[in-house]
């Protein structure tokens, strides 16, 4: 059993057609940073709130360090939760906000003072301890919320889209900071986000969710390079998905008949013949000029984005995205007839 173990967790609200979270099973190791990633409404926040105890699971079990806490009330769970809107107490100043959890634990005044100072120093806000919450910027409020959650030395740190209310630049800095604090303290962390870049950048493991169920669990590399299905492939990074027919498969490589492209090859760890979907990332596709009678399609859009050029190539009814390194090859004009290709190891057969 893992440090934080969730088994067959189900949350179904009365009157709802389908459960918000269904059969959620996941083990999280001590010190691990795990992201729950998915579009809004996929059940990631509900799962987080069930771990915190703010939402009661309809069925299933939650264990922390071997002890069951499925029915433990929120205030006895000892989880540190950082809310999307920070949820700081507006009637208390920065230091009193951070001290709140220690007061509830009846920590001695002297020790509380020391720990509050430590926590505020950790988030680099030591100089603002006397400020009122209203006087703080969004980024500073975020840090106070983090300090308030960390000061109680929680068993697990839960982060509910903590970066979504910050502007883009601050978001990247805070992301790095949260990760470095997490590493420093070695605290087990569950991070909820809808932003795939965020999840890829900070996580030890990512749990991709959709409509209440887990689509895939894996390291950022596994999720990106070997998505388990169409949903994950589409949700993480940009993807070209081709309908294909597997004509022969052996030794991990499949021969395919791809609609509009003809005979191609792709990595295949399933080993079954028949209809399939093939994933090729845009930057792994090659495009080259071809005579009209030999071409797969026509260049429809050309977007120059500095270090690369993005082509939209019309193949039958579909548009295929191709990303080429600028300057590496001849630049193609709109209307050019082209052939598309890829290296076998850059294409993956999905279920």
């Amino acid at each position: 059993m893992s440090f934080l173990q969730l088994d067959d967790i189900v949350k179904k609200y009365p009157g709802a057609e389908r459960p918000s979270v269904a059969d959620f099973t996941l083990g999280i190791d001590q010190g691990e940073f795990v992201s729950l990633l998915g579009p809004s409404g996929c059940g990631k926040t509900t799962t987080l709130r069930m771990i915190a105890g703010l939402v009661e699971a309809t069925s299933g079990r939650i264990h922390l360090d071997g002890k069951e806490l499925t029915r433990t009330p929120v205030h006895q769970r000892g989880m540190g939760l950082v809310f999307q809107n920070y949820a700081l107490f507006p009637h208390l100043n920065v230091a009193r906000n951070v001290a709140f959890g220690l007061e509830m634990r009846r920590t001695s005044k002297a020790e509380a003072k020391r720990r509050v100072e430590e926590a505020l120093d950790l988030v680099r806000l030591g100089h603002l301890s006397g400020r009122r919450i209203k006087q703080l910027s969004g980024g500073q409020q975020q840090r106070v919320a983090l300090a308030r959650a960390l000061v109680i030395e929680p068993a697990v740190l839960l982060l509910d889209e903590p970066l979504s209310n910050l502007d883009a630049k601050l978001r990247d800095t805070m992301r790095e900071e949260i990760r470095s604090i997490q590493r420093k303290l070695g605290i087990t962390t569950v991070f909820v986000t809808h932003d795939q870049d965020e999840a890829l950048a900070v996580s030890d493991r990512i749990v991709v969710m959709s409509e209440g169920v887990i689509e895939q669990v894996g390291t950022p590399e596994q999720i990106y390079e070997h998505p388990a299905n169409r949903f994950v492939a589409n949700f993480i990074g940009r993807a070209n998905l081709f309908d294909a027919q597997i004509t022969h498969t052996a030794g991990g490589v499949a021969e395919l008949d791809v609609a509009g492209l003809g005979q191609m090859r792709a990595v295949d760890d399933q080993g079954a013949k028949g209809p399939a979907t093939v994933l090729v990332r845009p930057h792994r596709m090659q495009v080259s000029k071809a005579a009209a009678d030999d071409a797969h399609g026509t260049v429809e859009t050309v977007v120059y984005v500095g270090d690369s050029i993005e082509y939209g190539v019309r193949v039958g009814d579909n548009t295929v995205s191709v990303q080429s390194v600028a300057g590496a090859a001849e630049r193609l004009e709109r209307g050019t007839t082209v052939r598309l290709s890829w290296q076998t190891e850059d294409a993956l057969v999905l279920t």
Binding site: A52, H75, G80, F83, N85, A87, F100, R148
Partner: protein, 263 residues
């Protein structure tokens, strides 16, 4: 207000409207200093004698004391009942919630005279008419709805995740209420209490049914006084009451902002 309302014709109209609305009050103020012994206009002479007599009028002083005690009692009890009711109505899902909500606001929809008669019919057999207790019970019927409303408003507009944050930080439900919820809804609660006091202090119609010789409120004393006497003492008393009301309104304004409370 946008600039198109700033023109002088609007100002004139608004000023006249306010003068029209405030004229009776100004009249009372002027008459309270009038040297004539019957209330009339225009005034002749200037005197403080009505204020002096007021300070010696045993009935008015007793009535004032009764009203103040009843008002404070009503305000405290209305909070004690109204705040939990507001929490139940805004925070908990239960059967008949809409019915309960309607029930707690319904006294405001019944004419006061009907309510007064009804309360007399209920309180008389309990033998508490003419007592402080009877007056307080009667006034609670019309003041609890205001407390429920102002408190509900605060509860609905406060950030609920503050309560959840307190819970995750180790606060029991009760401590979450006292340490987080109550401070955050304090403006609404305070406003409700002040409004309850003012309504109780001002209430005449219902009180008329349930007062007795031992416990007669100030509005009822005033009522009896003007039935037989017409000297400007009553105007002087009115000025004092207006001053008290204004004082309380200033307190609400400072605590919560009138607009927020009366919305």
């Amino acid at each position: 207000m946008t600039s198109k309302f700033r023109g002088w014709p609007t100002r004139v109209v608004v000023t006249l409207l306010y003068l029209f609305l405030l004229a009776p009050i100004l009249m009372v103020l002027v008459i309270s200093f009038d040297a004539q012994s019957t209330m009339s206009f225009p005034p002749r002479g200037f005197t403080f004698q009505w204020y002096e007599r007021l300070a010696q009028n045993a009935e008015f002083i007793h009535g004032f004391q009764v009203s103040a005690v009843v008002g404070v009692g009503v305000a405290l009890l209305a909070l004690l009942i109204g705040v939990p009711v507001a929490i139940a109505l805004t925070r908990h899902e239960f059967r008949f919630r809409e019915v309960m909500s309607g029930f707690f606001l319904s006294p405001l929809m019944v004419p006061a005279i009907v309510l007064g008669l009804a309360l007399l019919l209920v309180l008389a057999p309990l033998k508490i008419t003419g007592t402080y207790g009877g007056l307080i019970v009667a006034h609670l019927a019309i003041t609890v709805p205001y407390v429920v409303r102002t408190t509900s408003m605060s509860l609905m507009t406060m950030n609920r995740s503050c309560e959840e944050a307190a819970r995750t930080l180790g606060a029991s439900p009760w401590r979450t209420f006292t340490r987080v919820t109550l401070p955050l809804i304090a403006p609404g609660v305070l406003a409700g209490g002040v409004i309850a006091f003012l309504i109780s202090f001002d209430e005449a119609v219902i009180s008329l049914f349930v007062v007795g010789p031992q416990a007669t409120t100030l509005p009822v004393e005033i009522f009896h006084y003007v039935e037989s006497r017409t000297d400007p003492q009553i105007a002087a008393l009115s000025v004092v009451l207006i001053a008290i009301s204004v004082l309380f309104m200033v307190i609400i304004e400072r605590a919560a902002g009138l607009k927020k409370v009366l919305r």
